[in-house]
């Protein structure tokens, strides 16, 4: 009992230290070019964060995901610098992919390593250079800050860097944009990155984001918020490929707002490595005749925790959404899926589908899943399904009886399990790459 009290006090003190550390930096090393309108937004967000603090497992949204040990670490560097020469991006290279490359080192745009320059219709720049843009004023913090995620409020209040991408009107990009996020700091660091991607009307693009860790990097906690606006008739294919090392810890909030006739596809893939991954992917279907697809493949190992929270928010009639997440857990890892479909009173004729399948392989691994529906309109077709299982012994036997080794049979079965999702990838090269990573991440036995 005494011990409990003692650790309690300790936790409060340590947590106070990061908390106060952040509070002290407020207003400190922010980009100097900031417009006044941003000041006010930051101030309000900061108040919001101060009133909630970091979430605990007592909060429904963080029930299975404890961030306290992360935020309670003794000290984080809040601003770091690594020389371009010391950065290796080969871990993120997707074989056979020809893309415009953007490299972000600890959240900062790296001009030396980036190749996405002077491409007609495509603007790529550090977010602090985009403050004067019309669409920045229009969309920044417009959607993400309406959610009650304390990390979004913290990010809005204190982000120091990020990426701005705009694909111009009627522009159909010839090549995908490959954004490589490198964690490189040699001291434990806390980075806050803020991205804004705008797809103008009739624009079409593919954005692939890879997360990697540089050789020799220390423990890092990355709090990223991406706001994405897909305007009328625009199409965006968006990939997240999480291949960072075990020092990496990621809080990744993605807020998508879709206008009429638009299409947004998200492919969210996590592989063994990063110790802690929490993705929030919220898609707001803001007008009629919108289509959204969310796909996920998560393969976990060791002591990893991967938590995917998604919200599909049907606000207007005649929209369609399709969500399919597959988790495979090994060793003592944990996978969390929390999917929510909202169908608002106006959203008649909605067609929404959600499915989550899990393969629990590790002796001590765990799966927590919460597929939810909140329906306020009657003329809709909504369904969800969820399963948890493991290798089918009969299938394993069948394959082995035909001369396939057990290890190979397992790879085949996992491959087949993931196929429902990987087969929907729009980009065949990325698909092959992901299938390869699944195979690679799968442990023998």
């Amino acid at each position: 009992m005494l011990d409990e009290v003692a650790t309690d006090i300790m936790i409060t003190q340590v947590s106070d230290s990061l908390y106060t550390q952040l509070i002290k930096t407020y207003g400190g090393n922010l980009p100097s070019s900031e417009p006044h309108s941003l000041d006010e937004i930051r101030k309000q967000a900061f108040e919001r964060f101060k009133s909630t603090g970091f979430p605990t497992v007592k909060q429904e949204d963080w029930k299975y995901t404890n961030v306290q040990p992360l935020v309670n670490r003794q000290h984080y560097a809040l601003d770091t610098e690594t020389l371009s020469a010391a950065i290796a991006i080969d871990k993120a290279i997707i074989p056979g992919l020809d893309a415009y490359r953007v490299v972000m080192v600890d959240g900062k745009y790296n001009a030396d390593l980036s190749t996405a320059k002077d491409i007609p219709g495509l603007s790529v720049m550090p977010i602090d250079q985009a403050f004067e843009r019309l669409c920045f004023a229009k969309y920044f913090s417009e959607y993400a800050d309406k959610t009650d995620n304390p990390f979004v409020a913290l990010n809005t209040a204190l982000f120091t860097s990020g990426l701005f991408i705009e694909v111009g009107k009627n522009c159909q990009l010839q090549k995908p944009v490959h954004v490589i996020h490198v964690a490189s700091a040699s001291k434990p660091s806390f980075t806050q990155v803020r991205n804004l991607y705008v797809m103008s009307t009739f624009a079409e693009a593919e954005i692939i984001e890879s997360f990697i860790t540089n050789e020799g990097a220390a423990h890092s906690l990355n709090n990223t918020v991406s706001e994405i606006v897909v305007r009328e008739n625009a199409k965006l294919q968006h990939y997240y490929l999480q291949v960072a090392g075990s020092q990496g810890n990621y809080l990744n909030h993605t807020e998508v707002y879709q206008e009429k006739h638009s299409l947004y596809n998200n492919y969210n893939c996590s592989f063994p490595g990063a110790a802690f991954i929490r993705n929030n992917i919220n898609v707001r279907l803001g007008d009629s005749e919108v289509e959204s697809h969310l796909y996920g493949v998560t393969l976990t190992a060791d002591n990893q925790l991967v938590d995917n929270h998604t919200i599909v928010d049907h606000r207007k009639p005649h929209c369609e959404s399709y969500e399919w997440y597959k988790n495979i857990t090994q060793d003592t890892s944990t996978a969390v899926f929390n999917g929510k479909i909202f169908v608002r009173p106006d959203a008649q004729k909605t067609n929404a589908f959600q499915q989550n399948n899990n393969m629990l392989i590790g002796e001590k691994s765990a799966v927590y899943t919460k597929p939810q529906l909140e329906i306020f309109a009657d003329d809709v077709k909504c369904s969800h399904g969820c399963t948890i299982g493991q290798f089918d012994n009969e299938a394993l036997f069948y394959l082995q009886a035909r001369g396939i080794s057990e290890a190979q049979a397992r790879v085949l079965l996992v491959h087949a399990f993931a196929f429902d999702v990987t087969s929907r990838f729009a980009n065949a090269i990325v698909r092959e790459y992901v299938e390869h990573l699944v195979e690679q991440g799968l442990k023998a036995g």
Binding site: A366, S383, T387
Partner: protein, 483 residues
């Protein structure tokens, strides 16, 4: 929606609650308020032993420290716990020996509700009833006949007096005092309820049933049910409830505990028809109940069946803890909400033993301005080898201003477990309606038919007499609702 539909919906909203009368009877009501004195008063009135009073007081202290939860999918109403009277009993002689001594007012009340308490008038050997009127049990029928087989079926108060060892052993063993705020409240102030014990190897010869009636104003009803099925025993238990129509909301916070030992089976069915409030959502019962069963022994089975049509707010999750190896838990539910009713209900299946199985079938129907939520937990513990769960929850929407919500929690920590969950939300198919109306069935009956068909999987689980009543109840509640 067409105007015709609107009219029909209006009709539906106006459908009267037929059990809304009050009984004028002399009552013994405790003063409002909740304190240690209240608990002492209740305990003294029931002539309880010291250990039970201590147990109640402990629960009260927990209650006073607990916070109201906020995760539920409805605005929790402000309940002023000091503005409720925690004990109300008809003023009669303390012990009833024969029918003649029961207040005729009471008899006629139960007769009106269709629950005859006179054994002569009941078809011999169909159902034994324990009638609970406000805080006390009025009469338990067929006690002697059950006694021949060793079955104990009596009010909770009597059980405390006559079988204290059983009560002491099992009370709070499934739903601890600290389980949740309403369970703590109930543990502190429960006034009566039913107690059932089925001895080893006995198959209870008839259905057992409790009928709950709230009558008094400004009171809450806090009853407690404890059912123990000893090894290889079987019992089927039914529960029904009604309340008068009043503008104020009344609180009903019951606790039900089921214990199934080795090879035993308990089947618990509820037809819940508390007063749901009027069409503007005024009045009605807050039905905040904790129900849980424990499959304690190997090969035991507990099955919950519920038909929920009443209450302003229904908030309960009848669950099963599958502790014994090879034990089975089942949950079948139909929840119908209309007007401004709210329901947040579902189940919890906690798999602890090996080869445990659970099945959940939940059918929600929402009409009018109501909201119907399914919230369920399926939890597989690390030791629950080869356990199996199947969950199906469907929602039917009637009208475009109601809501249907699904919040399943699925947690697995064992790699040999298999779990499946599926849910759908839709409205009544226009092709189905067309098919039936085209064959000369009026739309209202057609909806009734479709809904009954939709709920059939659950209704089939009810004992005969209840199934008929439940079907009628669904039909009445749905009258005029064409979506």
């Amino acid at each position: 929606m067409s105007t015709k539909d609107d009219e029909l919906l209006k009709e539906l909203a106006l459908e009267e609650y037929k059990y809304g009368f009050t009984t004028d009877i002399e009552m013994d009501i405790a003063p409002k308020g909740l304190s240690e004195d209240t608990v002492r008063l209740i305990s003294a009135k029931k002539n309880e032993p010291e250990w039970l009073l201590e147990w109640r007081l402990k629960a009260l202290r927990h209650f006073q420290q607990m916070q109201m939860p906020t995760w539920q999918n409805f605005e929790h109403p402000d309940v002023d716990f000091q503005d409720i009277s925690y004990y109300a009993a008809p003023k009669t002689k303390p012990k009833l020996d024969s029918m003649d001594e029961v207040d005729p007012e009471l008899l006629s009340t139960f007769a009106k509700l269709g629950i005859p308490l006179d054994e002569q008038k009941i078809l011999a050997g169909v159902v034994a009833v324990d009638a609970v009127f406000d805080s006390v049990s009025v009469k338990t029928t067929f006690r002697e006949k059950l006694k021949e087989q060793g079955v104990i079926f009596c009010s909770f108060g009597e059980a405390v007096q006559e079988h204290p060892e059983l009560v002491k052993q099992y009370l709070g063993s499934v739903v601890p005092q600290t389980d949740n705020i309403y369970a703590a409240l109930n543990s502190a102030v429960f006034s009566d309820g039913s107690f059932v014990y089925i001895p080893k190897g006995v198959r209870c010869p008839m259905e057992l049933s409790t009928y709950f009636r709230i009558n008094a104003e400004n009171t809450g009803q806090f009853e407690r049910t404890l059912i123990i099925a000893d090894e290889e025993a079987y019992v089927s238990y039914l529960e029904g409830c009604t309340a008068p129509m009043r503008d104020e909301n009344q609180l009903h916070a019951a606790v039900v505990e089921l214990i199934a030992l080795k090879d035993a089976e308990i089947k618990y069915s509820t037809v819940q028809n508390w007063y749901p409030g009027d069409k503007d959502g005024k009045g009605g019962i807050y039905n905040f109940v904790t129900k849980r069963g424990m499959c304690k022994g190997d090969n035991s089975k507990i099955s919950w069946t519920q038909v929920e049509t009443g209450s302003a707010i229904t908030w309960k999750y009848p669950g099963v803890i599958l502790k014994g190896d090879h034990s089975v838990g089942e949950f079948y539910s139909v929840a119908l909400t209309r007007n401004k009713q709210l329901a947040d209900t579902g189940t919890k299946m906690i798999h602890l033993g090996k080869n445990t199985r659970s099945k959940i079938v939940s059918k929600g129907i929402s009409a009018g301005l109501s909201h119907n939520s399914y919230r369920g937990l399926v939890k597989i513990g690390p030791g629950a080898e080869n356990s199996r769960n199947f969950t199906q929850c469907d929602s039917l929407l009637i009208g475009d201003r109601c809501g249907a919500h699904t919040f399943p929690y699925i947690e697995s920590r064992n790699k040999t477990a298999k779990l499946e969950h599926e849910a759908t939300t839709s409205k009544i198919g226009e092709d189905q309606l067309f098919y039936l109306t085209q064959r000369g069935i009026d739309p209202e009956k057609a909806v009734g038919l479709i809904v009954n068909g939709y709920a059939k999987e659950v209704l089939n689980q009810l004992p005969m007499e209840f199934a008929v009543e439940a079907q009628k109840l669904l039909a009445i509640s749905l009258e005029g609702s064409v979506g």
